[in-house]
């Protein structure tokens, strides 16, 4: 009943997939298949090794399967009773031992890499220390050595080890920069803080994601990791520490201070960790991690965000500025907390918060 | 249960609990249930062990626990276990009255254990050690409370079985129930051995 053609057809999805694999490895700044650093590279090497072994296993099984189905299918009217075989020692030993060997080949480098990637550079003066705190639904990056805090956009120097210490401010999230290396949970509470080191040999921007279900906007909890050269990094640190001017317009300033700085911090004003530090928002690549500033201008994105943050990121913690209407297209309305004028002023002011580095 | 297993050939066999397939099924099934109970209590123990140092501002174990009281509770339960052994012996000798006496002793000891535990919990709560105090207190009350609930259930169950014996007498139907309840009772004792070791004694040690 099943002829050769049908058998081939079964393989079609596999072949289509293989073709896809060859043609599309995803974006260079996002895919685990185009590693951009030694950590991701080591993981990728293990992935290739395991895929090769698995391909071998799959090919052997498929080959036997197809052969058997063609060779031993029942012909019409065939009523012979096949020989009733109980088993076969040699064969059974073969298919016990061969997988064990394959697993040994896979297991040894696995153990090596497990220990290799768990190295701790927190005492290494050459390494940059970063404390990551995750929040529903944004990322906070603190550089304890430099006394600065930023959000959504991680800036790191190339060529140095970056040692992360990760914890969560609320629920469990997971910190993941696929093309640089993955991934570690950020746990809530003391006693379960995690460590992870990464390296960024190339300059560039890499996409980061939250990889643990953390609420409605888990899907949108993106961040960026921007690797710059050491000189540029130093300039950025200096710029982050420079004083920040408040909005010139008094009305805007008053609104900004009373309605925004209750949670946010900018420059040396430090309101703690309730919301992203806004120092240098204007030069970030995105607003809120997902509104790309190369698709729309920063100012427009800021306006969108400030006026309906809840529509953009359902359930995030920036509520009372936009209305508290349930999200969904059209459901969020423009800000009620700010007048049109204040909104424009604040957006313009924030868009102007650019750092030179 | 089918009708023909009430009496085998008119007289009770030596081990009436194992005389019928139903009885043997019951015993086997009950042992499997105890395997599940082992894992159940094991998980509670694991949670307790993981959280036992998380006392926050609440009382710590070595302040809280009073060994004499725990020792008394331990003795009560141990003796009650012996009583239920004797009950099963009486069952095997078909001495129904003796069996009932031992069962009643078992129950009474179980009740006094419960009384002691309630008194103990009461004292702790008055010392500021409530379910909500800390992770330690939550896991303590859940573990010890689960055990207490098992004792309470055992008391109730054996009580009902006594009533049934009075009504129906010792038969191949009632015997497995008595036997199984005795095994249950020992199991509760075994769990208690670990509770006094892990919770109380180790709590004192630190």
């Amino acid at each position: 009943m099943m002829n050769r053609w049908r058998v081939l057809k079964r393989l079609l999805p596999l072949m289509a997939g293989m073709a896809l694999l060859l043609s599309a490895c995803g974006r260079d700044d996002l895919s685990t298949l185009s590693p951009q650093g030694p950590v991701a590279q080591k993981q990728f090497d293990l992935m290739t090794l395991s895929i090769s072994i698995m391909a071998l296993v799959v090919v052997v099984v498929f080959a036997i399967c197809i052969y058997v189905l063609i060779r031993f299918r029942r012909r019409k009217g065939d009523n012979t009773i096949p020989k009733q075989v109980e088993g076969n020692h040699t064969l059974e030993i073969i298919w016990t031992v061969v997988p064990i060997i394959l697993l040994l080949i896979l297991g040894v480098p696995t153990i090596n890499t497990v220990f290799g990637l768990s190295k701790d550079y927190s005492k290494d003066p050459e390494a940059v220390q970063v404390t990551v705190t995750s929040h529903q639904y944004w990322w906070e990056f603190e550089y304890p050595e430099y006394g600065i805090k930023t959000a959504q956009e991680l800036i790191v120097p190339t060529g140095r080890k970056i040692q992360f210490k990760l914890a969560s401010g609320d629920v469990t999230h997971a910190f993941w920069i696929p093309s640089i290396g993955g991934k570690i949970d950020t746990n809530a509470g003391l006693g379960t803080t995690n460590k992870l080191y990464l390296e960024f040999p190339n300059e560039g921007v890499f996409r980061g994601k939250c990889a643990e279900l953390c609420g409605p906007s888990h899907a949108l909890m993106d961040f960026k990791a921007k690797a710059v050269n050491q000189a540029s990094f130093d300039r950025w640190v200096a710029a982050m520490k420079a004083p920040v001017a408040m909005p010139a317009d008094e009305k805007v300033k008053a609104a900004f201070e009373s309605k925004c700085l209750t949670c946010h911090a900018i420059g040396e004003t430090n309101a703690g960790s309730a919301a992203p530090n806004l120092t240098g928002v204007g030069s970030r690549l995105t607003v809120g991690g997902i509104l790309y500033n190369d698709e729309k201008s920063v100012e427009e994105n800021l306006k969108d965000w400030i006026s309906h943050a809840q529509t953009i990121k359902p359930g995030n913690q920036m509520p009372d500025v936009s209305t508290n209407v349930k999200y969904g297209p059209g459901k969020g309305t423009t800000a009620t907390g700010l007048t049109e004028e204040e909104l424009d002023g604040i957006a313009k002011y924030l868009a102007g918060q650019k750092l030179e580095y | 249960m089918s009708a023909h297993d009430h009496q085998l050939d008119g007289h009770l066999p030596h081990e009436p609990e194992k005389a019928t397939l139903e009885g043997r099924n019951k015993i086997l099934g009950f042992w499997l249930f105890l395997g599940a109970e082992t894992v159940l209590f094991g998980t509670l123990f694991a949670a307790f062990i993981a959280l036992r140092h998380q006392t926050l501002d609440g009382p710590t174990p070595d302040h809280l626990f009073e060994l004499p009281m725990v020792f008394a509770a331990t003795m009560i339960l141990l003796v009650s276990s012996l009583a239920s052994v004797f009950a099963v012996q009486a069952l095997h000798q078909h001495k129904v009255k003796q069996m009932i006496v031992w069962l009643i002793i078992t129950i009474l000891l179980g009740l006094s254990f419960l009384g002691l535990e309630i008194y103990e919990f009461n004292t702790y709560v008055s010392e500021g050690h409530k379910l909500t105090t800390s992770a330690f207190s939550s896991s303590f009350y859940t573990l010890v409370g689960f055990h207490g609930a098992h004792v309470a259930f055992g008391v109730l169950w054996i009580g009902l079985l006594i009533a049934q014996i009075f009504k129906k007498g010792l038969t191949v139907v009632t015997a497995p129930k008595i036997y199984v309840s005795a095994i249950y009772w020992h199991f509760i004792d075994v769990v208690w051995v670990f509770i006094f070791t892990v919770v109380y004694l180790m709590g004192k040690v630190g």
Partner: protein, 606 residues
């Protein structure tokens, strides 16, 4: 379903079904309930896929999406897959071991109704508007009192607690049944493979479900009584929940797959007309998988931060499971080898199972490589892995088993044409949906995302995946049509409708009478019914008058239930050591396996 009219002798009507303690009817109840929940879970899956068909879609909102995945995962695993397995075990196990019922018929019915109540309670949440949304794993703190407001998660906790107790009862019942109720002569090493896998599955249930019970109690206490098990602010520990969930959760996935392994063993052997290859190594592999299954839970927690020692240990332990599983795969292939394979719907599903499951299994081994799992974890690669083993494994297995045992359960054949249409639409739809998800994961798509930004390379693959899901839906609908058509068909079915049946259930009428076996069978070998048929055929061929009585191999017709136990006591005896059964070749595995079977002391009839 009117087809089961014949299973009842005297009464009919609703009350009979509500109060029945007959394992065959309870099996049908499980099938109806599990089947309905499968449709519900499938509908949820379709909604998930529609939401993900294109970037920034707004078909359902973020909240609803999280509710959908949570309910889909929970419903499918606890309310669809497990009950359908319970359906098969209820329908088949007592027949396969030659028993008149299970060990505890009343508990059997209690277990069903408890499961059903739990399932209904869980789904009431849809109507109450407070729906669990923290994933089927309900990780804290998201599912805890502080961040999981409302009562959604409470439905999850209560529903699973109640359903879980029903499952535990079932597990104990089937363990006791298989240990104590086997027909005379059926030693452990003569048990059909399906019976073996159910035995081991039941053991897994008995030892894994209490862990879940405690986890659910602890989280309930946290949520309802302000306890602090997982409240990180008050000294609790969120990682503890992950451990508890997975100590249960990993054995749970083998609870799902082992019965499917059993079904495949039966079906492959029947439709290739060959004895199961390497029976004793199959048994040993099953036991080993179950045992190892308890030692690998932390492979779901590689990224939790347990440290290199734990990650290394659990990596290796997990990989080891590939070895016994591989033994099974190759044994199936070599059962087919040299056989005479006929392609019925049942055997198509079984044959489709093998390559599909292997693909899911090998991605499992890839996930077991801890450093690489840092990349795979919580991405669509994992989603692809587990749907390959669950849908491509377990659901294929259930479909196979249903097509195979349908005539025995209902006394009606399923239509073969429709059956094959079910297979091909479901099979193609399945691979279309899930194959591509491997790549989605690899190129950076996390799982449990309600939407995704355009321009990340996810768009086409997601669209393809959704199309596949619809095909699976069509396949399922064809199956439902088939059921209805077969119910309308009045043609009775032979005792052994596939003609190549090998185990005892095929020696009695379809559907079996209430008491199953008129006379209790005397089992002289593995594949008892097949060997009996062969013997008769040889006798016929030799020109002697063949015995046509289908009960020719039953023991003394006057044997009463009670007697047989006494008489068979010695024959069933299993001891830790001793001689192997006379006919079974001394097998490699038997040197390791503790269960050696002593030769039956029963009088052999010529």
């Amino acid at each position: 379903m009117a087809a089961h009219a014949h299973t009842v002798k005297r009464y009919r009507g609703l009350m009979d079904w509500l109060t029945t303690v007959d394992h065959k009817k309870i099996g049908i109840l499980y099938l109806i309930a599990g089947g309905l929940f499968f449709l519900v879970g499938g509908l949820e899956a379709i909604l998930i896929r529609i939401q993900l068909i294109k970037p920034m879609n707004n078909f359902v909102g973020a909240d609803t999406f999280n509710q959908l995945i949570t309910m889909h995962g929970t419903t499918m695993i606890f309310l669809a897959a497990m009950p359908m397995l319970f359906a098969l075990m209820n329908a088949v196990i007592p027949l396969q071991i030659g028993a008149r019922d299970v060990a505890f018929p009343f508990l059997n019915s209690l277990g069903f109704w408890t499961f059903f109540a739990g399932g209904v309670l869980l789904n009431i949440s849809w109507f109450a508007g407070d729906i669990p949304d923290a994933g089927w794993t309900s990780y804290v703190p998201l599912a805890g009192p502080t961040y999981g407001g409302g009562h959604g998660v409470d439905y999850y906790l209560m529903g699973l607690q109640i359903a879980g107790i029903g499952t535990l009862i079932g597990g104990i019942n089937f363990m006791a049944t298989i240990i104590n109720m086997r027909a005379p002569g059926m030693s452990f090493m003569r048990m059909p493979m399906f019976t073996w896998t159910i035995f081991i599955t039941s053991a897994l249930i008995v030892f894994a479900f209490p862990v879940l019970t405690v986890g659910l109690v602890a989280l309930t206490f946290d949520r309802l009584f302000q306890a602090n098990f997982f409240e990180t602010g008050n000294g609790g520990n969120a990682v503890l929940w992950e451990h508890i969930f997975w100590v249960f959760g990993h054995p749970e996935v083998y609870i799902l797959i082992l019965p499917a392994f059993g079904v495949i063993s039966e079906v492959i052997s029947t439709f290739s007309r060959k004895r199961l290859f390497g029976y004793s190594s199959m048994v040993f592999a099953t036991v080993l998988i179950a045992f190892l299954g308890f030692m690998v839970w932390a492979h779901h927690m590689f990224t939790t931060g347990l440290g290199p020692v734990a990650n290394g240990l659990f990596s290796i332990a997990t990989m080891l499971i590939a070895v016994p599983t591989g033994v099974k795969i190759f044994n199936w292939l070599f059962t087919l080898w040299g056989g005479s394979i006929s392609f019925t719907s049942a055997s198509l599903f079984a044959i489709g199972f093998i390559p599909t499951f292997v693909m899911g299994g090998v991605t499992g081994v890839m996930l077991a490589v801890a450093p690489a799992d840092f990349q795979y974890h919580d991405t669509y690669f994992v989603v692809a892995h587990f749907h390959y083993v669950i849908v491509g494994g377990l659901i294929f297995g259930i479909f196979s088993g249903l097509h195979y045992w349908w005539p025995k359960m209902f006394g009606r054949m399923l239509n073969e044409k429709l059956g094959k249409a079910t297979f091909w639409t479901f099979f193609i739809g399945f691979h279309l949906t899930f194959f591509i998800q491997h790549f989605l994961g690899l190129i950076g798509m996390p799982r449990r995302v309600w939407t995704y930004l355009p321009g990340q390379g996810f768009d086409t693959m997601n669209a393809v995946s959704t199309v596949g899901a619809f095909l699976m839906g069509i396949g399922t609908i064809i199956f439902v049509v088939n059921v209805i058509v077969s119910a309308a068909n009045k043609k009775p079915v032979a005792d052994d409708p596939w003609e190549d049946g090998r185990s005892l259930e095929w020696s009695i009428p379809s559907p079996p009478p209430e008491y199953n076996f008129k006379q209790l069978p005397l089992v002289r070998s593995y594949d008892a019914w097949w060997n009996e048929k062969q013997k008769r055929q040889r006798r016929n061929a030799a020109g002697r008058a063949g015995r046509t009585d289908p009960y020719a191999f039953a023991i003394d017709p006057s044997a009463r239930h009670e007697h047989r136990i006494v008489r068979s006591g010695a024959g069933l005896h299993v001891r830790p050591s001793g001689r192997c059964h006379r006919r079974a070749r001394r097998h490699l595995w038997q040197h390791v396996l503790p269960l050696r079977v002593r030769r039956s002391r029963l009088p052999h009839r010529a």
